[in-house]
């Protein structure tokens, strides 16, 4: 027989504690000691490499590993070593260093008032560069604003990228987009969304289309750990799983979403790679500052996708060494020296050390390359500036503002153009 409600024990009399709301703690504040106690150190070379056709479930324990190939001495170890030839590695090193040199130059250009905004990827160069190396050049990239390294690795002209950042008369995007929101169809590089997360499920749609047409190309997308909280992320994983889309889905966990540490996005109770488990997708968790590990993991996921075994979610564990953007000052929310203490090191230094150890590189060549890349970037910037800068122009004519809203300019936009007098 059911108890009458007034016979039930009064919850307030029980010994239950009062409810308490949990707010994820903020990392050490500026002025305090950096603390990466939450970053578990995994040895290089110990993680198993399953074959690319295993059921997704067989990868799920990798959500709580960290695939590392380069050890602290710069040796490449373990089953994930992609065994790349030295020439490829030198090209990878060069692309990462060029990305860094480009970033430094454009950051300065913004400080000089030549453009409104810039975003560096310093410390995260291995993510985009090693991944571009592991993919086919026509695999379609749906990046965020911090994967400029894809364009550089694919040999896209710096001049074109700079003209976009300057919104000048040679900007193929006609001065419409915020700097760094590139688009390069010929480089299989999708127009970057300012709305975080939009690109992730779009990549799944592109991959579904490629599969529908019996194409060979796969899609690859990137999202920050912060934006994994957006519905777009969940849509991407759901559709990728349901339709077994040939797509590689990357979460770049650089620890920070502007000022919010990764715990605010849900990184405290589970890894981001573990998001794949409930969707039945394969997952890998990778040292994002290890060029060889990033390359190997991407290659694994790309092979799997290309063989119709479906999507892989990769968490690239890295550190945003610079500010979120030129509008951000990280010294207001994290210790200034935090980046130097990041336990997984710097991707450029680590690949360089590996090559030097193998007798394929030297400190002198490194210094020489740094200097020649700075010259290359400077020359491109000088040429770009001859086509204009945001502050001084020239820009596209104002009448182009009314074009491309639709394929054909409709009457109301023609009328508005006339109203502007152009």
């Amino acid at each position: 027989m059911e108890k009458a409600i007034d016979q039930l024990p009064d919850a307030t009399e029980a010994a239950a504690p009062r409810l308490a709301l949990h707010i994820p703690p903020h990392h050490p504040a500026p002025g305090e000691r950096p603390d990466f106690g939450y970053v578990r150190r995994y040895a290089a070379g110990v993680t198993e490499r399953p074959s690319t056709d295993v059921p997704a479930q067989a990868t799920h324990e990798l959500a709580y590993h960290l695939i590392r190939v380069l050890d602290d001495d710069g040796a490449a170890v373990g089953a994930w070593d992609p065994k790349l030839d030295p020439e490829t590695l030198r090209r990878g090193l060069r692309a990462m260093m060029l990305t860094r040199a480009y970033d430094d130059r454009m950051m300065r250009a913004q400080r000089q008032g030549k453009t409104s905004f810039y975003m560096k990827c310093t410390g995260e160069e291995a993510v985009a560069v090693a991944q571009a190396f592991a993919l086919a050049p026509d695999d379609m990239a749906f990046p965020t604003y911090r994967q400029q390294g894809i364009l550089i690795a694919r040999g896209w002209p710096l001049l074109d990228m700079m003209c976009q950042c300057y919104s000048n008369a040679h900007d193929r995007l006609k001065g419409r987009q915020l700097p760094v929101l590139y688009s390069a169809r010929e480089a299989a590089f999708f127009s970057i969304a300012g709305n975080l997360g939009n690109q992730f499920p779009q990549a799944v749609g592109w991959a579904m289309a490629s599969a529908y047409k019996g194409d060979h190309r796969i899609a690859v997308s990137w999202i920050g750990e912060g934006s994994t909280a957006e519905p777009d992320f969940h849509h991407a994983l759901t559709f990728a799983s349901v339709y077994r889309a040939p797509v590689v889905l990357n979460i770049v966990n650089n620890q920070w979403a502007i000022s919010s540490p990764q715990e605010v996005a849900g990184g405290e109770e589970a890894t981001f790679a573990a998001r794949a488990i409930g969707f039945g997708l394969a997952c890998l968790r990778v040292d994002g500052n290890d060029f060889l590990a990033v390359y190997a993991a991407t290659r694994w996921a790309a092979e799997r996708a290309r063989a119709n075994h479906g999507a892989t979610l990769i968490e690239l564990f890295t550190y945003r060494a610079g500010p979120h953007s030129t509008s951000d000052d990280p010294n207001r929310y994290r210790p200034e020296e935090e980046g130097k203490e990041w336990p997984l090191g710097d991707p450029v230094e680590r690949l360089s050390r590996h090559l030097i150890r193998a007798g394929e590189w030297s400190a002198e060549r490194q210094a020489q390359l740094t200097s020649s890349l700075a010259d290359e970037v400077r020359d491109a910037a000088r040429e770009a500036e001859t086509y204009g800068t945001l502050d001084e122009g020239p820009h596209f004519s104002a009448k182009t503002m009314f074009e491309d809203v639709f394929k054909e300019v409709p009457w109301h936009l023609r009328r508005q153009r006339q109203e502007l007098g152009v």
Binding site: F200, Q202, V204, G205, P231, H235
Partner: protein, 337 residues
Amino acid sequence: MPAMTMVQALNSAMDVMLGRDPDVVIFGEDVGFYGGVFRVTDGLQKKHGESRVFDTPIAEGGMLAVAVGMGAYGLRPIVEVQFADYIYPATDQLISAAARLRYRSGGEFWAPLTVRAPCGGGIFGGQTHSQSVEAIFTHVCGLKTVVPSNPYDAKGLLISAIEDDDPVVFFEPKRLYNGPFDGHPERPSVPWTNHPQSEVPEGHYTVPLGKAATVREGRAVTVLVYGTMVHVALAAAEEAGIDAEIIDLRTLLPLDIEAIVASVRKTGRCVIAHEATRTCGFGAELTALVQEHCFYHLEAPIVRVAGWDTPYPHALEWAYFPGPARVADGLRRALEG
């Protein structure tokens, strides 16, 4: 020519396009095996195959994102959103991505997708199955917005939408799916069979986007309507005995401004009616445009007849719906003014 309902005409449009263009695919909730909750995609999966007409998870935002990606690849996806009321989760992808892709990429990428969604009330759908949300999308630059009112137009406009290289939002007044509805719920339902616009060719034809249709000529007052309200306005004009000229806009954006201006300059009076809520409804834009283009020809203030600014109430549906009596009252006010 066969007589078709609006459901059959829309189905025929997609059947024709699936047959003509291998890049056309259709997806949405329950559209595949089952053929859609309103039967608009009935039989298409069986005829054209599972990879061309398929069911999706319940995630409108995901559906639209996938459509953007497919569009960027080169397909022409048609997405069915089961009710216009459920389109809100898809708005970020529609507004931030589909509508702006061509612009933001300097013309490198575009998304030639069509979103179909049943709209409007009159079926006791309550506040979550009755809304008319067109003005949200006409406000977005880069989207085309279409609302057909009869089977012939529905098929021709849908084919135009699918063939268009810009994203199109295509709202289907669900109360018109199986017959014209003049706004008198107390009368027996009328089938499409005897309506002249139910004569629908079986093959390919288009009704161009951006062209209105004058469905009743008159000299006393111009009535600007679309969707279900076309039939309500016709009933109102007949019942009030007013020599109204009724223009079915068909496409809200791009709008056929020439047809509107020509008629209002002729009649000097204008009534605008829609089922959607009044404040910032598409009627507000129409009012402003008529005022901008026809001010010196107007002999009376422009009259708006619209849904009230409330959610669509389930039991009070017919107190909410701007039926023939309210439209006729609007016509009389426009003539008195």
